[in-house]
């Protein structure tokens, strides 16, 4: 009972702290160095990293398709990164992720006003166009899809990853 009370109290603190800051708890800040952390954290596992943004029309169409893909491919780590220029919309970002069925993936939001530097760390040639998807194989080979990804291409890549294993 005491333990349960402690749990409820703790949960209340968590909810209160998250809501007081006005951001949903699932969204992690993407800052200088985060990219290396993502690569390390998923090393050895096939990983799909999806860059998108709440104001990007093609992203709105693609996100639910990606949500379905993530659900159907638990063997692939799916990471989303909201790369809109001004990172002041965590609530809108989370809401779109939730609607797309991506609440439980690892979700980041750009959190450095110096976006040139953030993008440079990820890919020096990337100028900020979204959507953009990076497919990282078990051996760390990155293939980049610029613009909306064809789900059939993701299926093919995913099958290749499983076949290799």
């Amino acid at each position: 009972m005491r333990r349960r009370f402690a749990g409820i109290l703790g949960l209340s603190i968590l909810i209160a702290s998250a809501s007081a800051l006005g951001a949903p708890p699932g969204l992690k800040p993407f800052e200088r160095g985060t990219w290396q952390g993502v690569l390390k954290g998923h090393a050895g596992r096939p990983t799909l990293v999806h860059f998108w943004g709440v104001t990007c029309g093609p992203c709105k169409v693609e996100l639910p398709l990606l949500g379905r893909f993530a659900k159907e491919h638990p063997e692939i780590d799916v990471v989303t990164i909201s790369a809109d220029l001004v990172p002041n919309l965590p609530a809108a970002t989370q809401s779109m992720l939730d609607k797309a069925g991506l609440s439980s993936t690892e979700n980041f939001i750009f959190n450095d006003g110096f976006v040139e530097r953030l993008r440079f760390e990820i890919d020096p040639a990337w100028q900020g166009d979204i959507p953009r998807t990076m497919l990282i194989s078990r051996d760390g080979i990155i293939s980049t899809i610029e613009g909306s990804a064809e789900i059939s291409d993701l299926e093919k890549w995913s099958a290749q990853q499983l076949a290799k294993h």
Partner: protein, 413 residues
């Protein structure tokens, strides 16, 4: 995904200590999200120091006018000493608005011969990020601005407005507009991107004529560049969607203020992409009618920043000339035909700092000087813009770390 599930199980098991620790950690992380470094702006007040986007225009008397967005407001001020000091700002907005903060959005300003100031900018008017173009005018030298009005009665999304001033004081506005998506969808037709719409104002930007369509099927998320090719003949460059979803650039010269012209492709870059490049082009037309254009592409045929010119009123263009160092991510090109040559600037990033590179042509775009860094900053910055007072060309650049800068381009008489 699997790890995320494992993570939530761990939270359930650890009880109070874990949850409090997590709350603390998350609080710290989210607190950081609100920290200043996370913002594009140096501060959150409506002052120029806090601006993320600042757009200049010289008045007929040589006064520099600046419109900027900061702290959710749009303000205007003037400078009599080439940007060293500014008048007390006048707020164009009366309350904090959800201004369009897209990378290619910025407030626009033109100052006519009588000193009338026309301003336009976009806001996000709903939670789905549908845009709306608002405009206003000052008839008293920037002391006050009229109540903001939408440039069109349409309730469909509009963004990326551009303003240009004709010789007779007519203000011409063009923007990207999504109103034709709905009827197309209802009719079962495929509709890609947005449409280029326009309207002109015969009273210096106090009221605009009804909006009209110039072209359907444009890219929806890149800035336009707009100027006059001749009196009564606006010219606009935009990222078009060509056959097969190829987002390459097109130029259109109007026959007159209400008659759109044919579109002409600037370059066959073959950028087939269904995405928002957030990276629009630049256009200037020299007094001898040469069109100079600069743009970004990531096409199959070429990637990076490019320049070309046209000596037949924008019908055909020279072979694209690459700009900048490919290993330094050149971005945001701007070209301006000035009194002493045609000047181009763009940004480069070396991993730590952003520099503005400049090149100048004294032979109408045939040859260009070696690029030279003319300014740099170590934090985020607005696009570099060029502005002319008829005698000199200046770089206008808003930076987070160093504030607003107006820098005379050297090598001019």
């Amino acid at each position: 995904m699997i790890r995320a599930f494992e993570g939530s199980r761990a939270v359930i098991r650890t009880g109070l200590l874990g949850i409090v620790a997590l709350a603390f950690l998350q609080g710290a992380a989210l607190g950081q999200m609100r920290a200043q470094h996370a913002s594009e702006a140096a501060c959150e007040e409506p002052t120029l120091r806090c601006a993320t986007k600042a757009t200049p225009a010289f008045g007929p008397d040589g006064t520099l006018w600046l419109v900027w967005m900061a702290g959710g407001q749009v303000s205007v001020a003037s400078s009599q000493d080439a940007g060293r000091s500014f008048s007390a700002p006048t707020q164009v907005t009366t309350r904090r608005l959800n201004l369009d903060w897209g990378p290619d959005a910025r407030p626009k300003i033109v100052v006519d011969r009588k000193g009338g100031i026309a301003v336009a900018f976009s806001i996000f008017r709903d939670e789905a990020f549908n845009g709306q173009v608002l405009y206003t005018r000052s008839a008293d030298g920037g002391k006050s601005f009229a109540e903001l009005k939408p440039i069109t009665a349409s309730n469909e999304s509009q963004r990326f407005e551009a303003l240009a001033l004709d010789q007779d004081g007519t203000v011409f506005a063009a923007w990207l507009d999504k109103r034709n998506r709905v009827p197309a969808k209802e009719a079962g037709r495929k509709y890609e991107g947005a449409a280029l719409f326009f309207a002109s104002s015969r009273d210096g930007g106090a009221t605009y004529a009804e909006a009209a369509l110039a072209r359907d099927g444009t890219c929806e998320c890149c800035r336009l560049a707009l100027t006059f090719a001749a009196p009564g003949r606006p010219a606009v460059i935009f990222r078009n969607i060509f056959e097969g979803g190829v987002r390459d650039h097109a130029v259109m010269t109007f026959a007159d203020l209400s008659t759109p012209g044919e579109i002409h492709r600037v370059s066959n870059d073959d950028w087939r992409i269904n995405a928002c490049p957030h990276h629009g082009p630049s256009l200037t037309i020299a007094p001898n009618a040469t069109y100079h254009v600069a743009w970004y592409t990531n096409g199959k045929a070429r990637k990076g920043l490019f320049y070309a010119h046209s000596r037949d009123e924008g019908r055909t263009f020279s072979a694209p000339m690459a700009l900048g160092r490919p290993d330094r991510n050149p971005t945001r090109p701007f070209v301006l035909a000035g009194p002493a040559g045609t000047v181009m600037v763009w940004k480069e990033f070396d991993g730590e700092k952003t520099s503005v590179q400049m090149t100048i042509s004294h032979d109408d775009g045939e040859t260009w000087s070696p690029p030279k860094a003319i300014s740099s900053t170590t934090d985020t910055s607005d696009h570099p813009l060029l502005v002319s007072n008829g005698q000199h060309v200046y770089l206008s650049w808003m930076t987070k770390a160093d504030g607003y800068r107006l820098t005379a381009i050297e090598g001019q008489p």
